[in-house]
């Protein structure tokens, strides 16, 4: 028989250990209580509750059905709208600090070569970028930071916008390969779209060859290939289905070219920008190709996008294309919710628009297991909004990333507080924290 007395000191030690020496990950749970909860994966819940434990979502449901964990920090969310953290699928967050200052840009490899497949943005991401707090205070908790330039630009990463180092932020490294089928990209391949297509096909053919003859290649026993070993490896990973190919294309015929090439090499395709995608809505729906769209655009800004329309997202969505809404911006990625509002303004279903900034980008970027909806076990990225998140007058009241509530603080907030609160001392003596 085991004596309790004998084990008491051990129990005490265990209890003491739990109380005082808990690892930081076991933080106080948070209960967001009340409001309309949009899990996205399920229909909205009136008067819902979302429980966050550690860095994940522990429970989501109607108030009556969810039990409150002991000692939970309670957020009164009556009258609010609760959504997953928004995901912007196309930014350069952490890669560009000041757009016009070259030394602060790390999103593009500066080379004349059209194929830059091995280029990864990841090591260039700066977790201390002042853009990050500004973005997350707009309810954007996760972004894809993507490369640009050339025909094949390289590989992007999906990051959460909170954490002291990249390690804590990284959701998925090398989440996708990015390519451009645009007039600018054609410049790097003989200033003709045909030249660009030639280079892309050649690179993918060589990657195929490389994958099939890797040993021979390593021994130098093959013909020479059009791109470097690292580029070949990177492209082979796309051919192997490890990551999708995201092609920036605007003109309907450029989208057709991307579809053709993707089909020829059997790669998983997403269209980025897709200004004239509405003209190919059925074809894209049949091919199940997601399209990343900026809703706030109706200008024939270039000759490859004369058909730009406000209702592009609506038409695609109604045809059954997985639509992702993005700002295609960095400094104002915080306005992602307004892209969704604008899409609704031009006919998109409200729920579809919410999906287009949460679940749809998560799926398209291969992070759906952990992101994009409010489901138990997923990363606790949650936003509590003062009202309809797409409305101009609505504020993001609470933003949680990985279960941590982010401070109402950014360099912009500090500038604002420093200059709003006019004191006798010069502004230079005010740190802007409001303390």
């Amino acid at each position: 028989m085991v004596s309790l007395r004998r084990f008491l000191p051990v129990l005490v030690l265990l209890l003491v250990g739990l109380l005082c020496c808990r690892p930081a990950a076991h933080a106080q749970p948070t209960a967001i209580v009340g409001g309309t909860v949009h899990p996205v994966s399920e229909p909205p819940i009136e008067d819902g509750v979302v429980i966050l434990e550690d860095d994940t979502i522990a429970a989501v449901g109607p108030r009556a059905e969810v039990s409150m964990p002991e000692g939970a920090r309670r957020i009164d969310a009556d009258g609010t709208v609760v959504t997953p953290g928004l995901i912007d699928a196309a930014t350069s967050t952490g890669l560009i600090e000041v757009s016009a200052v070259a030394s602060t840009r790390d999103q593009a490899l500066d080379t004349d070569d059209a194929v830059r497949a091995a280029f990864r943005v990841t090591d260039g991401i700066n977790p201390n970028s002042v853009v990050i707090p500004v973005t997350r205070l707009g309810g954007v908790t996760t972004v894809a930071s993507i490369p640009t330039g050339g025909g094949i630009s390289g590989q992007g990463a999906v990051i959460d916008l909170h954490g002291p180092t990249l390690q804590e932020m990284l959701v998925r490294d090398r989440a996708a390969m990015y390519a451009h089928f645009t007039p600018e990209a054609a410049e790097a391949a003989g200033e003709a779209r045909g030249g660009l297509a030639l280079r892309l096909r050649e690179a993918f053919e060589d990657a195929q060859f490389y994958a099939e003859n890797e040993d021979a290649y390593q021994e130098g026993a093959t013909r020479s290939l059009s791109v470097s070993r690292l580029d070949l490896e990177a492209l082979a990973s796309v051919l192997a289905g490890d990551r999708p190919l995201v092609v920036r294309a605007a003109r309907a015929s450029d989208i057709d070219a991307a579809l053709r090439i993707a089909e020829e090499f059997d790669v998983s395709l997403r269209i980025l920008g897709g200004e004239e995608a509405w003209m190919r809505a059925e074809r894209l729906a049949d091919a199940e190709v997601p399209v990343i769209v900026k809703a706030l655009d109706n200008l024939p800004a270039e000759f490859d996008r004369l058909g730009t329309r406000f209702d592009n997202a609506t038409q695609l969505s109604e045809a059954g294309v997985p639509v992702i809404l993005s700002t295609l911006d960095t400094h104002n990625a915080r306005n992602l919710r307004l892209e969704a509002g604008h899409a609704v303004r031009h006919g998109m279903d409200w729920d579809a628009a919410l999906r287009a900034v949460t679940e749809a980008p998560a799926r398209a970027l291969g992070v759906h297991d952990t992101h994009g909806s409010l489901e138990p076990g997923k990363t606790a990225n949650v936003v509590v909004w003062s009202g309809d998140p797409f409305e101009l007058m609505t504020s993001a009241r609470h933003v949680f990333i990985g279960g941590t509530r982010v401070e109402d603080d950014s360099r912009q907030k500090r500038l604002m507080r420093r200059y709003r609160d006019q004191e006798e001392q010069p502004q230079a003596y005010d740190d802007g924290t409001g303390q």
């Binding site: 024939p300 800004a301 004369l306 058909g307 329309r309 007058m393």
Partner: protein, 472 residues
């Protein structure tokens, strides 16, 4: 108070002894063989037009009396009228109130559930200047050179720019089209009604005061030629204005006693002399607070006034001074970070300017934002309220109506729904500060110029015929 243009013309005749509308006045030899000039000609020479060339040829579209009934009327003049009526008649706002009598034959529009505001005014646009598609041949913003005050924007506006019709569909009825900002002085601005025209003059806002665009900071110093520093910019301004002072003195002396040949003409100096005489509204592109204070010092040194700082992302840092000196600031709601001098941009900029009692303006400088200035004003309103600034909806509406009208010097004619003002009016599907709201109908000078539900009232540029683009 509305001043009909004919009366305005008469007033100018009385005040200045001339009227641009009096026709070309060629010199005539008097008995002594001396060349003499009539007052109208002298006035034209002073303004730099010399005759009736470049006059506005704008003709309002046909109109009939129209009453919008039972709408929420946001006048931008202070009050919001629930279930209000607005009567547009004889090109003007005839009456605003409740239960406004319907004149015989008037078109009646049910505004229940809808909102009415003045036509939106943008103090900074490049529509038709660097028109879409943004290809090289469409770029008409800047010439090479440090200062090019002899340029006139109206000589570089393409009326077929596809953006014009889109801006109108967004409720924007008037815009200041500007050159720049690659030089310290770029040239005269062009105040346009955003109605279709075959020539820039068809869109020219009649009798709008002339404006001049200048710039400081990174853009004018960004080229490879002088200036390449902020010091160079200041020196450029000062040297140029010293020259202008001389030119003005010479010309004013001659205009005082206009006999014999006039002094030699210089297009750039002609413009700057008008600035020094106080006849031109100066618009200065500036981002940083210290760039703006430098410009204020230069304006003081040469005794002219700055009407509006454009972009002014750091206006909040010097808002007390801008309020005191009565200089407005034309700002974005939240643009920042795209260049070094925009690094300190904050979304509360507009609200803090307002809070200091300064004249805040939300401008676009963008072919997309000009289509939704109402939304940009709402964003600035929200940011301000979140920061604890007390702002009424009427005031936020003034950021995109009455205040830009003031910056353009047309505040007596447009910018509010007040009796006697031009009938530039927007009927919105709902609250203009909601993202879901669209402009349904737009009137300019009482004429319906846009109707979202009637393709016959949706203008479209020549460029877009046969293209896949159909605006919406």
């Amino acid at each position: 108070m509305r001043i009909p243009s004919i009366l305005l013309c008469a007033m100018i005749v009385i005040m200045l002894g001339g009227c641009a509308g009096s026709g070309p006045s060629t010199s005539a030899d008097d008995a002594a063989g001396e060349t003499t000039y009539d007052n109208a000609t002298l006035e034209n020479m002073r303004e730099g037009t010399y005759n009736d060339a470049w006059e506005s040829s704008y003709e309002p579209l046909p109109a009939r009396p129209t009453v919008i009934q039972d709408a929420t009327v946001m006048t931008a003049a202070g009050e919001t009228i629930r279930e209000g009526d607005v009567l547009l008649r004889d090109r003007t706002i005839d009456s605003v109130g409740t239960d406004v009598p319907v004149p015989e034959g008037a078109r009646v529009i049910d505004g229940s559930g809808k909102y009415v505001t003045p036509g939106i005014i943008d103090s900074h646009s490049h529509l038709g200047v660097s028109a879409t598609p943004e290809v090289g041949p469409h770029y008409d913003n800047n010439e090479e050179g440090m200062a090019t005050p002899g340029l006139w924007m109206e000589h570089g506006v393409w009326p077929q720019g596809p953006g014009f019709a889109r801006a109108l569909a967004g409720g924007t009825t008037t815009a200041l089209l500007l050159p720049g900002s690659g030089d310290v002085i770029e040239g005269r601005g062009f105040t346009a009604k955003l109605v279709p025209g075959r020539s820039p003059q068809d869109m020219k806002f009649p009798d709008a005061p002339p404006t001049l665009k200048m710039a400081c900071g990174e853009n004018p110093k960004g080229g490879s030629s002088y200036p390449t520093t902020r010091m160079g910019i200041a020196e450029g301004f000062r040297s140029t204005f010293i020259e202008a002072q001389k030119y003005r003195k010479q010309w004013d002396a001659w205009l005082e006693a206009p006999t014999g040949d006039p002094p030699e003409r210089n297009l750039g100096m002609e413009t700057l002399a008008e600035v020094l005489r106080g006849n031109m509204l100066v618009q200065v592109h500036c981002y940083r607070a210290d760039d703006m204070t430098t410009m204020l010092e230069i304006a003081q040194e040469f005794d002219f006034e700055i009407r509006s700082f454009h972009h002014a992302v750091e206006a909040y840092k010097i808002r007390d001074r801008l309020a005191e000196e009565e200089v407005s600031a034309s700002m974005w709601s939240d643009w920042w970070g795209f260049k070094m001098e925009a690094f300190d941009g904050i979304p509360e900029n507009v609200a803090l300017m307002h809070d200091a009692g300064a004249r805040a303006i939300v401008h676009s400088d963008d072919d997309l934002e000009i289509q939704r200035l109402n939304q940009e004003a709402a964003k600035a309103l929200r940011a301000g309220r979140e920061a604890g600034v007390d702002i009424t909806r009427n005031e936020a509406l003034r950021w995109i109506t009455a205040h830009p009208a003031w910056a353009l010097g047309i505040q007596d004619r447009v910018g509010t729904l007040e009796e006697g003002k031009n009938a530039d009016v927007v009927l919105w599907s709902s609250d203009p500060f909601s993202i879901y709201t669209k402009a349904q109908r737009v009137w300019v000078d009482g004429a319906l110029v846009y109707d979202r539900n009637d393709p016959d009232y949706q203008p479209r540029s020549d460029f877009e015929l046969g293209s896949p683009s159909t605006q919406n």
